[in-house]
């Protein structure tokens, strides 16, 4: 059975239709990349999957693990195993990184009828995952994302993913603003988390990230529709020709 099935999804923000009939199926263990120019609707799709409430779904449905995803609140979706790495991670002064993540993990564990993890069990695991992302331990007791560099914020997103162990991870332009060293660390972290039980959707504007995180499938999103789908080679083609061809095709549809 497929993990995620998006059928004919139409989404409005205020009065603008952003997504105009998306169809996408993601099976367990697959990594799909969604590429597209600015304003094509990539981030909207990511946010709808994470259940942000500012979007109005006017048609279509999303089945996640056989359930109606659109009926879930963000925290319920998270507890069911959906995780989105934010394009712009939010700074939360006054809450430490470690406190935040332990609260999140325990909320998710509670939903899954698992015992809460105390600090004694949590900290060694947390330190281990920080090593994977090559993060300075000092960031652990700092407020969430406050005063973090761009690279530290993105690594912190992947760290959260490593701790929460989702079934479906959506990375929303996790590569944007990263230098090549930071990009490699993030990619290493993501690759370490790839498994047959975990699917990923990697949303990106540039092909560069896909040199390090090799997708199984690439989809091109233009003007609210997926206009082409293919294998990793499609990303390379886009890199060469740009989105112009794809956009022309979209207009022809």
């Amino acid at each position: 059975m497929s993990l995620l099935e998006i059928k004919n999804l139409h989404v409005k923000v205020e009065s603008h239709e952003i997504l105009k009939g998306i169809n996408l199926t993601v099976n367990s263990g697959e990594l799909h990349s969604i590429m597209g120019p600015n304003g094509s609707g990539k981030s909207t799709l990511a946010q709808v999957l994470a259940r942000r409430e500012n979007y109005l779904v006017t048609a279509g449905e999303i089945l996640y693990d056989g359930k109606d995803l659109l009926s879930l609140k963000p925290e319920e979706a998270a507890a069911e195993g959906i995780f989105m790495a934010f394009q712009y991670p939010v700074e939360i002064p006054g809450i430490t990184n470690v406190y935040f993540l332990r609260s999140a993990l325990n909320a998710v564990r509670k939903h899954r009828a698992l015992e809460e993890m105390d600090a004694m069990d949590f900290l060694p695991m947390f330190r281990e995952k920080m090593k994977l992302l090559e993060m300075d331990e000092k960031l652990m007791n700092r407020s969430v994302n406050e005063g973090f560099s761009g690279g530290e914020k993105k690594r912190n997103e992947i760290l959260q993913m490593a701790v929460l162990e989702p079934k479906l991870a959506i990375l929303d332009e996790t590569d944007s603003g990263l230098d090549i060293d930071a990009l490699k660390i993030v990619a290493k972290g993501v690759n370490a988390l790839r498994s047959v039980e975990r699917s990923m959707i990697v949303v990106t504007h540039y092909q560069r990230l896909l040199n390090y995180i090799v997708p199984d499938f690439v989809h091109v999103l233009v003007n609210g529709r997926i206009v082409r789908s293919g294998g990793p080679e499609l990303a390379l083609e886009l890199e060469e020709k740009g989105y112009v061809d794809a956009e022309r095709q979209a207009l022809a549809v």
Partner: protein, 462 residues
């Protein structure tokens, strides 16, 4: 409701009755002061919103309620009643029932040698000389009617004395219990805290109600911080929503004295919190830190008057407010820099979260600078819980109420983190945790019909 003439008659009756029974009845210096104070009160009466310092707070409800002066045996309290207000880690706990010291309910524990923490009435009988040096010397009875009223009606309160060089590590804890009564009572606790030079101490004042009901507590604390002393003062207001509480903390700071005033206002219906430090000695430092959390129809007014009277003094004011329901908050931050107070460094910040459309905050900075080499800054913000932050937490699995509570706690922690007395801070953190859960729970769930991301919503005011 009573008329002004009835009100005056009632206060006059209480004034004369107290004269006969009070501990200080033989002391002419105090009698003179209280007579002046009462004359002042009869002259000016209660303030009205026409008075600039009371523009945002209407006290006519206090003026119109026929409050009776609490007598000696005005309420019964058992030790069990107080269990929930015992603070772990305190050096001692003095209990005042309707403003009167109760030795049976108090716990005098492990005070360092030479430190006194006792009843003011007792001190009046035992050794009034030390009181004469300080009591009433700093408070200006002409500043407002409540200061005059307190001086006129002083019956009891706490007397704390820290001798030179003594470090009292554990907090001295003063619990003021209002019993609540069918008949509305008024109490005028008067506290004197004298910290001699190079001493160190923390004092907590905690105001609570045993039962519901209208009560009027008008308290004054004079805190004398000697040269190079390090003193922290905590004020916790968590009385019944029908209670009126006016408190005035008058701080007199000597050379290089370091004082921190922390206020946490959670309870009371109409609360006025006056903090008035005078940085009289060179190099003195003052931190004025506060958190006020209002709900329902609570009115929480914070009036700060920071006087820089000597060179090289620093003052820092940080007040955070969280207002829900129809609650109204006030932050009035006045900084006066006297002519000779060069190199003054004064800073003031007031941040507010409004959780409902009907909650309201009035924030007013006021700088009066008569010196020419000073640094004074002020700023105020008003905002809501950030939708962005809320979604971020929820997207990680934290449910909406918990996410809201976490964000409120983070906002409150800005104030709690400035409290350096570990046992008091830990106690207040736990208190805040419970209190903010209720606040987070009462806020309506985020509207889903809102079509846009409101993002950061801070409005810079100053």
């Amino acid at each position: 409701m009573i008329t002004a003439a009835q009100q005056l008659e009632s206060y006059l009756g209480s004034f004369s009755r107290l004269e006969k029974q009070a501990a200080w009845s033989g002391l002419s210096w105090w009698r003179k002061l209280r007579e002046d104070a009462f004359a002042r009160f009869t002259e000016v009466g209660f303030p009205t919103p026409h008075d600039e310092d009371w523009r945002f707070t209407n006290v006519s409800a206090i003026a119109q309620t026929p409050f009776q002066l609490a007598g000696k045996e005005s309420g019964r309290v058992s030790p069990e009643d107080l269990e929930r207000w015992r603070v772990p880690g305190a050096a001692c706990q003095l209990v005042f029932v309707n403003g009167r010291f109760s030795s049976e309910l108090s716990r005098t524990g492990k005070l360092p040698a030479g430190v006194t923490a006792s009843s003011l009435a007792e001190q009046f009988t035992k050794d009034p000389k030390v009181l004469e040096l300080h009591l009433g010397r700093y408070l200006d009875i002409r500043r407002d009617a409540f200061s005059a009223l307190n001086t006129a009606f002083t019956a009891d309160g706490a007397y704390v004395h820290i001798p030179k060089g003594v470090v009292a590590g554990d907090p001295i804890y003063l619990l003021f219990v209002s019993t609540g009564n069918n008949e509305p009572l008024m109490t005028h606790p008067r506290n004197l805290i004298v910290a001699e030079e190079e001493s160190q101490a923390s004092v907590v004042e905690d105001y609570v109600s045993l039962n519901a009901g209208a009560a009027f507590c008008n308290t004054v604390t004079e805190l004398v911080a000697g040269d190079s002393s390090v003193i922290s003062h905590y004020m916790i207001e968590r009385e019944d929503p029908q209670a009126f509480n006016v408190s005035t903390l008058r701080i007199q700071q000597g050379r290089s004295a370091n004082v921190a005033s922390h206020s946490v206002l959670l309870g009371g219906g109409l609360v006025r919190n006056n903090v008035h430090p005078v940085l009289a000695g060179e190099g003195a430092e003052c931190l004025i830190n506060g958190l006020f959390i209002g709900n329902g129809r609570q009115h929480l007014d914070n009036y700060m008057l920071v006087e820089h009277a000597s060179p090289h003094c620093d003052s820092r004011q940080f007040y955070n407010g969280i207002l829900d329901g129809r609650a109204r908050g006030v932050f009035h931050g006045r900084i006066v820099v006297h002519k000779d107070a060069q190199k003054t460094d004064a800073k003031q910040t007031n941040r507010n979260l409004l959780l409902s459309d009907d909650a309201q905050i009035d924030t007013k900075p006021q700088l009066e600078i008569y010196a020419d080499d000073v640094k004074c800054t002020h700023g105020a913000t008003i905002g809501q819980i950030e939708e962005n932050a809320l979604f971020y937490l929820r997207s990680r699995g934290i449910d909406e109420v918990s996410a809201r509570k976490l964000l409120l706690l983070a906002f409150a922690n800005e104030c709690l983190d400035r409290m350096k007395q570990d046992s008091v801070r830990t106690y207040l953190e736990a208190l805040m945790n419970r209190h903010l859960f209720q606040v987070a729970n009462s806020v309506p769930v985020a509207r889903t019909d809102r079509g846009e991301d409101q993002g950061r919503n801070w409005e810079e005011l100053g």
